[in-house]
Symmetry: C2
Subunit: 209 residues, 2 copies
Amino acid sequence: MQLNHQSILELDERYRRNLINSIHGAKTIALIGSKSKDGVSNLAIFSQIIHIGANPPVLGVLFRPDSVNRHTLDNIRDSGHFTYQNVKSEFYKQAHQTSARYPDNISEFNECGLSEEYLSNFPIPFVKESTVKVGLSLADEIPIKINGTHLILGKVELLEIDDSYISSDGFVDPFLAETIAGGGLDAYYSLNKLSRLSYAKPGKPLEDI
Amino acid sequence: MQLNHQSILELDERYRRNLINSIHGAKTIALIGSKSKDGVSNLAIFSQIIHIGANPPVLGVLFRPDSVNRHTLDNIRDSGHFTYQNVKSEFYKQAHQTSARYPDNISEFNECGLSEEYLSNFPIPFVKESTVKVGLSLADEIPIKINGTHLILGKVELLEIDDSYISSDGFVDPFLAETIAGGGLDAYYSLNKLSRLSYAKPGKPLEDI
């Protein structure tokens, strides 16, 4: 199939949404935890996530203001904090279920069968079942003019990861942590490790490290 | 291991870079093709990629101005166009090799053993070996103040994907397209499909679709 810009715009809306959400292949998915002014915890699955930088340590999450995830955005703006955790294959259905439109006074933690865990005085709950837990503070909010979305930058304030998933050089292996990836709006993939490759230099053969 | 913001800042720089580049798990990787004013084609692997929206169809790629990928950013600013394509397991080592620092007058296509392919008068070459090919025009450039990176927004102008990878509802399956995912700065993963899940509603059991 070959499509140009105009023919993409003329596609059925649902077809276009599935298509354009999936052309970039496998992607990071994660559960974002937050808490409302009224103290109701919220948990939502996200797939528009990007590493912004390591120093300072910052992650970015893109929010659509009109989506079911609006609660999460409101909560982050109010409290200034949120949690980020990986999705494991054993609870990906529970993670997907967090995308349902629950009322404001309902916590997705309970409704979807995932457990709240508080760590080190961080004000927002983590998902106990996750193996990679990141506590973040709101560092910046960048409006994306082209479609009215918002890129939320979170500074890493707290990190909890079992030592057994971390290589001696700091690499957290998503295969060992049983982290899965997403595809499109509703597909989930577990990982097979191919290898880590040595730093590339012109004319130098790559090695598995 | 539990770390707070201050203890992360105090880590060895290389350890911190590996750690913070890998805490968000598996991520999209892709090859970005571009062309210099002098007509030299350039190909580079990227892992900071985000879906921005489906209408208009837009992808975002984060650039570090000081990296080896500066050539790509200069080229995109000059020509206003670039290509995006998936990495398959059969050529992930060639894709990784594009991250080596080649001189300005050298094309990574030839050096790394990947083939140029021109499609439908699009001015920038695609990677022939890829199964998902996206031609983009520069739509916006958003400075990220917190660390001086730049989020480049590309509008989808051309799409070429074999029909056999596309479901009837528009979903492009990265498993069928043999797209792989990345981890950290140098790890690569092939995918196992778990399932696609039905649209989540409160109180309604999920189904595999």
